[in-house]
C-alpha cells in the first residue's frame, strides 16, 4: 500500500465499517500500533472492540475502510476464549508446539517461554485440566513463541484473579520492554489501562476519543460513556501529583471538594 511512510507503524486501520445483519457494529473506526507501543482498546460491551481486532488481524473483511499491515509482520494472537473439546487428548506442551513450525518448537524453548509467562508448572498437564488463569498464560506463551512483532491480546486477564491480573500486565509490559514489539490489547480494567498504556482508544461503535490515557480520561465522550464516577476516579488516580485542575466541565469534581464519591 502506498503512503505508509511512517516507520515503526506495524498495523493501521482506517475508517473501518462493519455491520452484522443491518446493524452497524463499527462506523469509521480505526487504530494504529507502532513498534514498542502498548495500545489499549476500551469501550462498553458490544462496542465492537473484538470486531475491530478481528479486522486488524484480517479475520474479517470490513465492508469499508482499509487495513495496512507492515509486510512480513509476525503477529502473536491471544483470542478471548479458547475451549478445547475434552475428547482431544492434548498436553499444554503439545498445544504450544502446534503454533510454530516444527523446527522452531524445541522443548527447551517452549519451557522457557512458559516460565516467562508464569505457567511452567502446567507444561505436561492436559490442557483441559488447567485453570482459566493458567490458560491465559499458556495462550500468551503460544503467542510469544512466534517471536511476534505485534502482540494482539483480546482481554488477556479474563478469568485471572486480582493478584494475577497485575502480574500478567507486568509480564506484558516486560515483554514489550524486552522485545520491543507492539502490543494491542482489549481490556476492561480501566485503572490498569490508565496506568500501563501508551495510547488509549475508546470505542463505542465509532472512535469516541483516543490519545494518551490522561487526555482520554478527561474527554467528555469518555465521561459520557463510563460515567462521571469512573472518570473522576481515574482522573484523581492520575492527577494526585499535579494540580492543574482544568478538568472538563462539571463532570470531574476537585478532589478536595465535598461532592466527590471518589474518595477512598
Amino acid at each position: 500500500m502506498p503512503g505508509n511512510t511512517d516507520t515503526g507503524v506495524l498495523v493501521k486501520a482506517i475508517d473501518i465499517n462493519v455491520s452484522y445483519g443491518g446493524r452497524s457494529v463499527l462506523h469509521k473506526a480505526g487504530a494504529e500500533v507502532r513498534a514498542g507501543e502498548i495500545v489499549n482498546l476500551i469501550g462498553p460491551n458490544g462496542a465492537g472492540k473484538t470486531t475491530l481486532v478481528r479486522a486488524l488481524l484480517g479475520l474479517l473483511e470490513p465492508a469499508g475502510g482499509t487495513v495496512v499491515r507492515r509486510p512480513g509482520l509476525k503477529i502473536g494472537y491471544m483470542p478471548q476464549r479458547l475451549v478445547i473439546d475434552p475428547a482431544l487428548p492434548l498436553t499444554v506442551n503439545r498445544f504450544l508446539a502446534l503454533g510454530i513450525p516444527r523446527h522452531a518448537a524445541g522443548l527447551g524453548r517452549r519451557r522457557a517461554v512458559l516460565e516467562e509467562t508464569g505457567a511452567g508448572q502446567v507444561a505436561d498437564s492436559p490442557i483441559q485440566d488447567i485453570s482459566g488463569g493458567e490458560m491465559q498464560r499458556v495462550l500468551l506463551a503460544r503467542a510469544l513463541l512466534r517471536d511476534p512483532d505485534l502482540l494482539v491480546l483480546d482481554e488477556p486477564v479474563q478469568g485471572v484473579d486480582l493478584g494475577g491480573q497485575s502480574e500478567l500486565y507486568a509480564i506484558i509490559r516486560h515483554i514489550r520492554d524486552d522485545r520491543g514489539c507492539g502490543v494491542l490489547m482489549v481490556s476492561h480494567d480501566l485503572h490498569v489501562v490508565m496506568a500501563a498504556t501508551d495510547h488509549v482508544i475508546c470505542l463505542n461503535n465509532h472512535i469516541c476519543c483516543a490519545g494518551h490515557p490522561v487526555t482520554v480520561s478527561r474527554h467528555p465522550e469518555f465521561v459520557a460513556l463510563f460515567g462521571p464516577t469512573v472518570a473522576a476516579e481515574l482522573s484523581v488516580y492520575h492527577h494526585e501529583h499535579d494540580h492543574e485542575h482544568d478538568i472538563h466541565g462539571s463532570v470531574v469534581p476537585l478532589h478536595e471538594d465535598g461532592g466527590g464519591n471518589h474518595h477512598d
Binding site: 445483519g21 479475520l59 483470542p79 478445547i84 487428548p89 502446534l98 503460544r142 512466534r146
Partner: protein, 271 residues
C-alpha cells in the same frame, strides 16, 4: 474361531472391513474432536441420493455418492458461515440429513429393484464385496491416509482453534475443504461395510472408545483404527457363527469395546 476365513467372501469382507476401519480411525477422531458426528450422519444420509442419481444417469453409483456428499459438505461448510443466519447449524443438518434421505428414497422408486437393492445400501452388504470393489476401496483408503498424513499437523492446529490457526498462517478453509472431501470419500467406503444408516458409528464409536486410553492425538487415532479393526473382526465372526447381519454385528462389537473402555475410565478415575 478363525475357520470362518475358509470362505473367500469372508476373507474379502474382512479385508474390506479392515481397510475402512484403519482409515476411519484417524478421520473419525477428527469427527469427534470437531464435534461433527451429526455432520457425518448427514453426509451418509445423503449418500442414497447419490447412488440413485448415479444409477439414473448411468454412472458409477459410488461416484454419485461422492459428488452428492461433496455438495452437501460444501453447503454446510461454506453456506453457513454468516453470523446473521437465523437457523442453527443443528437444524440445517437435520433438514439436509432427512431431506436428502427422503429425496434418495423417492429417486430410488424410479429405478427397478433389480438395479437398486435398497436394503443392501441402508444396512451394508460387506459379504457381497468383490475383488474389484476391494481394489478401489484400498485405492481410496490409501489416498486418504496419505493426504491425512500430510496435512495432519495444520489440520490439528485448525481443529484446536480456527482463528488462532488463521492468524498463524494456516490455510484453514482449504484444510476444511480437504477434510470434508476425505470424509465424503470415507463415508462412501464405510457405506459398503455397515450401510448408510450405520456409517457414523464406524467413525465415532472406535474413536470414542480409544479416547480414555490415549494421551496424544496420534495415539487416539491409532487406537481408534485398532479398535475399529477388532470390531470388524468380531462382528464378522459373530455374523458367521450366529448368522447375524454382518454390518450391525460390527457396530455392536464396536459398542462392546466402547463400553469396556469407558469402564476402564470409570475404574481409573472414580467420580
Amino acid at each position: 474361531m478363525t475357520d470362518f476365513l475358509a470362505d473367500d467372501f469372508m476373507v474379502r469382507a474382512l479385508l474390506a472391513g479392515l481397510a475402512v476401519a484403519a482409515i476411519a480411525g484417524p478421520l473419525g477422531s477428527f469427527v469427534v474432536w470437531r464435534r461433527m458426528a451429526y455432520f457425518g450422519a448427514t453426509l451418509s444420509h445423503s449418500a442414497l441420493l447419490g447412488i440413485a442419481l448415479g444409477l439414473l444417469v448411468g454412472a458409477e453409483p459410488m461416484l454419485g455418492v461422492i459428488v452428492v456428499c461433496l455438495v452437501v459438505a460444501l453447503i454446510l461448510g461454506f453456506g453457513h458461515r454468516r453470523r446473521t443466519a437465523i437457523l442453527s447449524e443443528d437444524t440445517l443438518l437435520g433438514i439436509l440429513a432427512h431431506g436428502t434421505l427422503a429425496m434418495g428414497l423417492v429417486a430410488a422408486a424410479f429405478l427397478d429393484s433389480v438395479r437398486l437393492d435398497l436394503t443392501s445400501y441402508l444396512f451394508g452388504d460387506i459379504l457381497a464385496i468383490t475383488t474389484s470393489d476391494l481394489v478401489w476401496l484400498y485405492g481410496v483408503a490409501v489416498t486418504v491416509a496419505v493426504i491425512l498424513g500430510l496435512i495432519w499437523r495444520p489440520l490439528l492446529a485448525a481443529t484446536v482453534h480456527e482463528e488462532l490457526a488463521l492468524v498463524e498462517g494456516v490455510p484453514v478453509q482449504a484444510l476444511k475443504l480437504g477434510y470434508m472431501l476425505m470424509l465424503a470419500a470415507v463415508v462412501a467406503l464405510a457405506m459398503k461395510v455397515v450401510g448408510i444408516l450405520l456409517v457414523t458409528s464406524l467413525l465415532i464409536i472406535p474413536a470414542a472408545a480409544a479416547r480414555p486410553l490415549a494421551r496424544t492425538p496420534e495415539q487416539m487415532a491409532v487406537l481408534a483404527s485398532i479398535c475399529g479393526g477388532l470390531s470388524v473382526f468380531g462382528g464378522l465372526a459373530a455374523s458367521y457363527i450366529a448368522d447375524t447381519p454382518s454390518g450391525p454385528s460390527i457396530v455392536v462389537a464396536a459398542l462392546v469395546l466402547f463400553i469396556c473402555s469407558q469402564s476402564v475410565l470409570a475404574i481409573r478415575k472414580p467420580r
